[in-house]
């Protein structure tokens, strides 16, 4: 176990040293208010495979400084997807969202769902993964206590503690899995054209239903039809837009 951890940390260290220079470069570009350069550097970093909540967050900040609210929102959303519990990301996303054109009042959610999601989003996927390992380790210790200790009270603690820890382990795995589903099957998208007319059918001659402006978040319901996809606005409205008018988070 110990050796394994050492191997993991060595592996991480190797990766960090390989790319740290560029991240620091991008940060210093941002600090020197050279936002355009910071944007290209962060984007290069992400392209190189360093998709990371902090990189997306910093990129979003750089876009925000360039007054490109739409891309700022897009990158904050990506950052939040990867690190849903981060307070800074949530704050900046909220601020950037408040500067977009469309004011959308989301449909009200059942309060238990809200609670559940707030718990799920408390930690990131890997956060839950590590937590689940911790729970499992505790469960094992408590199980051994139950099995091999002679005082009755210790055996009781061991038994119930072990049960709770096993439950926590299962829940942590469920939460992690659920978040992974969200990341793997991304259905969120941001409108990137300044004004998009949402149609009733996937065709140019469809009836114009409503108009969305850049920076608005929608969820994609159906993208099986080549150039068009069906979207839903958080307030419940649905319609079809062209794929090139949106960008998946």
């Amino acid at each position: 176990m110990k050796r394994l951890i050492i191997i993991i940390s060595l592996f991480n260290f190797y990766l960090v040293t390989a790319m740290a220079v560029t991240k620091a470069d991008a940060d210093s570009s941002y600090v020197n208010e050279n936002y355009q350069q910071a944007i290209s550097q962060y984007e290069e970093l992400i392209k190189e495979g360093g998709a990371n909540a902090e990189l997306y967050y910093n990129l979003g900040n750089a876009y925000y400084r360039m007054d490109d609210i739409t891309h700022a929102v897009l990158n904050y959303e990506r950052a939040q997807l990867l690190s849903p519990g981060d307070e800074d990301i949530r704050f900046n996303l909220q601020l950037a969202r408040s500067k977009t054109v469309d004011k959308i009042v989301p449909q009200s959610e059942f309060f238990l769902v809200t609670w559940y999601l707030s718990i799920v989003n408390r930690l990131s996927i890997d956060g839950w993964a590590y937590a689940s390992l911790g729970f499992l380790a505790l469960a094992i210790i408590l199980a051994l206590v139950y099995l091999f200790s002679s005082p009755i009270w210790l055996r009781k603690v061991g038994f119930f503690g072990c049960g709770i820890m096993v439950l926590c382990f299962v829940l942590a795995n469920v939460f992690a899995w659920q978040q992974k589903q969200m990341v793997d099957h991304r259905d969120g998208a941001i409108i990137i054209e300044s004004a998009v007319t949402v149609k009733s059918t996937p065709a140019q001659n469809g009836t114009d239903l409503f108009i969305l402006h850049e920076g608005t978040k929608v969820s994609v319901l159906d993208n099986s039809i080549g150039d068009w996809c069906e979207i839903r606005v958080p307030d419940g409205k649905q319609g079809w837009v062209e794929v090139k008018q949106i960008e998946i988070i």
């Binding site: 960090v16 390989a18 991240k23 360093g50 990371n52």
Partner: protein, 625 residues
């Protein structure tokens, strides 16, 4: 509108006849301060007739004496003719009246040069009043200067052409001149429209249209226009500066001031006057002819300003700045005024007010702007006064940074920044009304959000991992789970093994217990035969205690009668057997120290111990099986 008087002389006979009536009416009215004013054109041509008038604003006059007119320069053609004028008005019960007498001479200039007409004198209400002296410049020659009398007529003819004759572009035209043809944006240009005429122009109308590229302001000129003689192309024109505009270009590039059409009215002589018509229609033998005059357009090249620096006020020209503060030591809630005065020439009306950066904690108000500029031919001149009012709400020391004003200097063709001094303010606590102004519910106040901004970026190194390589559900994760499971199994097995081994030791001791007890009893029997009672009892006790200790897996030192009976009861040994065993121990301990027949007792004790051990062994073995 222009009124040009004809060189006609009033017939003053009627006026003289009417005079007594005027006098009768106005005599009771008091006279005002009397002046005698002389008036004549400043510039005339040789042979030109002109009028010299003396006006006195009273009617009680006598003894008018004209000064000595230089006879070699001017010839008096006519005069003096007297005219009187009175006006009487009653407004809201207040009566005002004015009256004047005018003496008119018609003179003709004889030669070039500058001549002075000395002051005239008159007796008004018994006091002697003298007029101003006049300076007249005689230059050029009136056209058709054949003879004096003929010349007059000719000039009159020249001006008053006969009806129907055309007025050519060289008779009447307007010239436009711009003070500069190439300027910077916002730099003022003076446009002058000058009328040149050979004909009797009586009225002229023409307006500058609204121009897109310019901010236009007209310079007010006196309503009364007086002509000057100016030679142009060999002819003596009567000229007048008709209008002047100051133009501030608002964009760069080639800007055009379009041609403007003026509507003029020219007086022409009507030679075939029908006397009857003249009588009924009041025809005077003159008709008015409308004439359109086109003033040419002007092209002005406007250069854009160089790259504007941050904080550019929009001012173009030449300025200076002066700042004043009314006090630097004050109390809370005392208003404070900073006055910034910008003086100079330029586009003052189009500048932004400079910014005074008070601490946000101060209550500030809108800038009060006082415009003290006036339009001159070089643009707007004067000063703009900006007053900034601020009220400190808290005591302390505050710093007001210098006020900066950036403008474009047209002379040096570069931006200049004027900087004032900085002020340090000391605000003392006011007279206890701070709280009453601020809030009613206590001395705490809400934190004011000055602005909303995003949070800072995340610095430092990050774990650079690709999006797909999550720890969750990765091989590593499964390995970690497997390792934990293995650890569990391993520990389980180890603990279990130890438990089993532990159990085996107990079992072995239990099994050995009988053997040990038998061995010890055999030794005891031998001691009994050797008649060694002390050692016999010791050995028997050891056998009893040792046996039960081994059987129950309890160290011998911890044994007592109570815990023996308890543990044996747990192992389903019946009470009878336990009692027998305890009695065997008791008897053994008693006999060990009791006097009497040790030999007989020894045998009895031996038997009891033997029976107790056998019985317990039987019961425990039975319950185990």
């Amino acid at each position: 509108m222009i009124l040009i008087s004809n060189n006609k002389v009033e017939n003053n006979r009627w006026v003289k006849w009417l005079l007594p009536f005027y006098l009768l009416v106005f005599l009771p009215l008091s006279a005002m301060a009397q002046t005698l004013k002389a008036n004549a054109p400043q510039q005339v041509a040789v042979g030109q007739q002109f009028r010299l008038t003396y006006t006195v604003n009273s009617q009680d006059v006598s003894n008018f004496h004209i000064g000595q007119i230089p006879s070699d320069a001017f010839e008096i053609l006519m005069g003096p003719s007297t005219s009187t004028q009175s006006s009487f008005s009653m407004v809201n019960g207040r009566t005002t009246q004015s009256s004047s007498v005018t003496y008119t001479y018609i003179l003709s200039a004889l030669k070039n040069g500058t001549f002075t007409i000395p002051a005239a004198t008159i007796n008004v209400d018994g006091t002697q009043v003298s007029s101003n002296a006049l300076k007249i410049q005689v230059s050029g020659t009136a056209q058709n200067n054949g003879g004096r009398a003929q010349g007059n007529r000719a000039q009159q003819q020249e001006e008053l052409r006969s009806a129907g004759s055309t007025i050519s572009g060289s008779d009447l035209f307007i010239q436009v001149s711009a003070s500069k043809k190439r300027v910077y944006e916002q730099e003022p240009v003076l446009l002058t429209y000058k009328v040149y005429t050979l004909v009797a122009l009586t009225q002229l109308e023409g307006k500058m249209p609204d121009l897109k590229g310019f901010h236009t302001q007209e310079i007010p000129l006196p309503q009364e226009k007086s002509f000057k003689i100016e030679q142009f192309n060999g002819r003596n024109y009567k000229t007048v500066t008709w209008s002047q505009y100051v133009m501030f270009p608002q964009m760069s590039g080639k800007l055009q001031v379009p041609p403007i059409t003026f509507n003029g009215i020219v007086l022409q002589q009507n030679r075939n006057v029908d006397p009857f018509e003249a009588f009924f229609n009041g025809g005077s033998g003159y008709i008015e002819v409308k004439k359109q005059i086109q003033a040419p357009g002007v092209n002005i090249e406007v250069d854009p300003l160089p790259t504007r620096p941050a904080g550019f006020s929009g001012g173009v020209g030449k300025f200076s700045m002066n700042t004043e503060i009314d006090k630097t030591e004050l109390k809370t809630n005392d208003p404070l005024t900073i006055r910034v005065t910008i003086t100079g020439t330029g586009n003052m009306k189009l500048m932004k007010a400079p910014e005074v950066k008070f601490t946000k904690d101060f209550d500030t108000y809108d800038v009060k702007v006082t415009d003290k500029s006036r339009l001159t031919t070089s643009g707007l001149e004067g000063s703009m006064i900006y007053e900034y009012l601020a009220v400190p709400r808290h005591q302390g020391k505050y710093h007001v940074p210098p006020v900066e004003f950036t403008y474009f200097d047209t002379k040096e063709k570069q931006y200049k920044t004027l900087t004032s001094e900085a002020y340090d303010l000391t605000v003392a606590k006011g007279d206890g009304d701070e709280t009453s102004v601020q809030s009613f519910g206590g001395s705490q106040e809400d934190i004011q959000m000055l602005a909303n901004d995003i949070r800072y970026i995340k610095l430092g190194n990050v774990n650079m991992q690709s999006e797909g390589s999550l720890f969750f559900a990765s091989t590593l994760y499964w390995i970690a789970l497997a390792v934990l499971a293995l650890v569990f199994i391993l520990l389980f097995v180890v603990f279990r093994q130890r438990a089993i081994e532990n159990a085996d030791v107990v079992k072995a001791r239990g099994k050995k217990a009988n053997k040990v007890a038998v061995k010890r009893l055999k030794k005891a029997a031998k001691l009994m035969n050797d008649n060694k009672p002390g050692e016999f009892y010791d050995e028997t006790l050891r056998a009893l205690w040792g046996y039960v200790g081994d059987k129950l897996n309890i160290p011998v030192e911890q044994l007592s009668r109570e815990n023996i009976s308890d543990r044996l009861t747990e192992r389903n040994v019946n009470a009878e057997t336990i009692k027998q065993f305890i009695e065997a121990i008791d008897e053994c301990e008693f006999e060990r120290y009791a006097p009497g027949d040790p030999k007989g007792n020894m045998n009895k004790v031996y038997q009891t111990a033997m029976t107790a051990i056998t019985q317990i062994a039987g019961t425990i073995n039975k319950s185990k099986n």
